[in-house]
Symmetry: C2
Subunit: 247 residues, 2 copies
């Protein structure tokens, strides 16, 4: 038979030589003083683009670098002992990938490109070097991780006791925020992930996601054509996300 679709092209892309590149074009979630940004930039290398379904890293690989998404998007999938696959995160442009790998020095899942995606690589040993002399950078990293930890904790614990519609509404509000923060329209965006990915991320069955999308559309909250989403009533969507869930 024909060679199976090469899901992973990690080796290939890893052999390419990278060129140093400024990060000034990245709208990072926090503001950095230009000096710190500079130092950050010195460390960053631009990698060759990933194509859809390529892996940036694989679960269990030794941790070497953090990455910042330049364009495109990633999902992180963790496989449990049980052979269950679980989407644990989505990453959009400007967001830092791999923070959860520092702890045990291994990546905690497969990072898969959802579309053509380019990233900057931040070798962690270089980061550590630089952070010796730059308190700003050090604090920046601390803040990134702490914020993510806080978000994750609160969001997940909230979602645990909420109905599917609240979960999905929360998802859209969060996505809208992330796009707004990047300077894009918070009302109209493409989500490269599949319904199945969204379901896995939110702990819902694909069918439920699909049904809810239909209902939201019927209620005039959003319209979805394929993977393009328009948000018409962000306010009630937000109210729904903040609501008790079980009413």
């Amino acid at each position: 038979m024909t060679t199976p679709r090469p899901v992973l092209r990690f080796a290939r892309q890893h052999n390419l030589d990278n060129h140093a590149c400024r990060l000034s074009s990245l709208c990072l979630p926090f503001t950095l003083c230009s000096e710190t940004l500079e130092k950050f930039g010195v460390v960053a290398k631009r990698n060759a683009p990933l194509r859809k379904r390529d892996a940036l890293y694989l679960q269990g690989m030794p941790f070497k670098s953090l990455y910042v998404i330049h364009s495109g998007s990633l999902k992180q999938i963790t496989t449990t002992d049980n052979r269950e696959e679980q989407v644990t995160s989505f990453f959009l442009p400007g967001e830092i990938v791999g923070l959860d790998a520092i702890g045990d020095q291994r990546y905690s899942g497969n990072a898969i490109a959802l579309e053509t995606t380019t990233v900057f690589e931040l070798p962690f040993d270089r980061l550590e070097e630089v952070s010796c002399h730059s308190p700003e950078l050090r604090n920046y990293l601390f803040q990134c991780m702490s914020k993510e930890l806080q978000n994750e904790r609160l969001l997940m614990h909230l979602l645990l006791r909420k109905t599917s519609d609240v979960r999905l509404a929360t998802f859209f509000v969060a996505m809208s925020l992330r796009f707004r923060r990047r300077g894009y329209s918070p009302y109209c965006f493409n989500l490269a992930m599949s319904r199945g990915d969204i379901g896995s991320y939110l702990g819902l069955a694909v069918e439920t996601v699909s049904r809810l999308l239909g209902r939201f559309q019927q209620q005039g909250l959003i319209t979805s054509r394929g993977r393009e989403f328009h948000i018409h009533d962000l306010e009630t969507l937000t109210r729904l996300a903040d609501s008790n869930g079980r009413c």
Copy 2:
């Protein structure tokens, strides 16, 4: 009427003078070289004990210090815009409290003592100073946060799609592990939190928790008398926690 039970004694305890104290007696989740431990110890101050229901800090208070539990236990409760209260974490001896506050420089919930509890205070500005000259300490902090982030992410996303029995089994297995790591028996321990706290943490109704405890007991997996738990069959409990949930 009599003065209402003083739930919060933060001010009182904060006015007491603290004395410096070694952390060597703490079984931290990761091993530190003695030199780093020393430096850590220089920073630590021992605080006056908290009584049950006292708060170590309150949601929204400016972040100043991390804390390490010496004895006792804490829960962290976050109140949403909606006046919903959500238990986001439990902290046992040796564990670090407050990591999720570094990001926005404010504590993200109320830290409430579940029993008489003593903590060491680690003023963050001192930590930052010391971490300038100690790569070990810096890395240790990074690792703590990263590990917690990874745990939280995977655990929560897994729980999202699991049935109540799997959630509770997971909770017990995790607790058992945490006690074992501290050198205590993984088969017999006291959990100072109420059923309601456990339910909130796992996203389950109190009644469900109670029913499940009954079922587990009936199946010979555990026995529970009040807040004292004996684990009889950790293996099947683990298998249950790792199972698909919906079978």
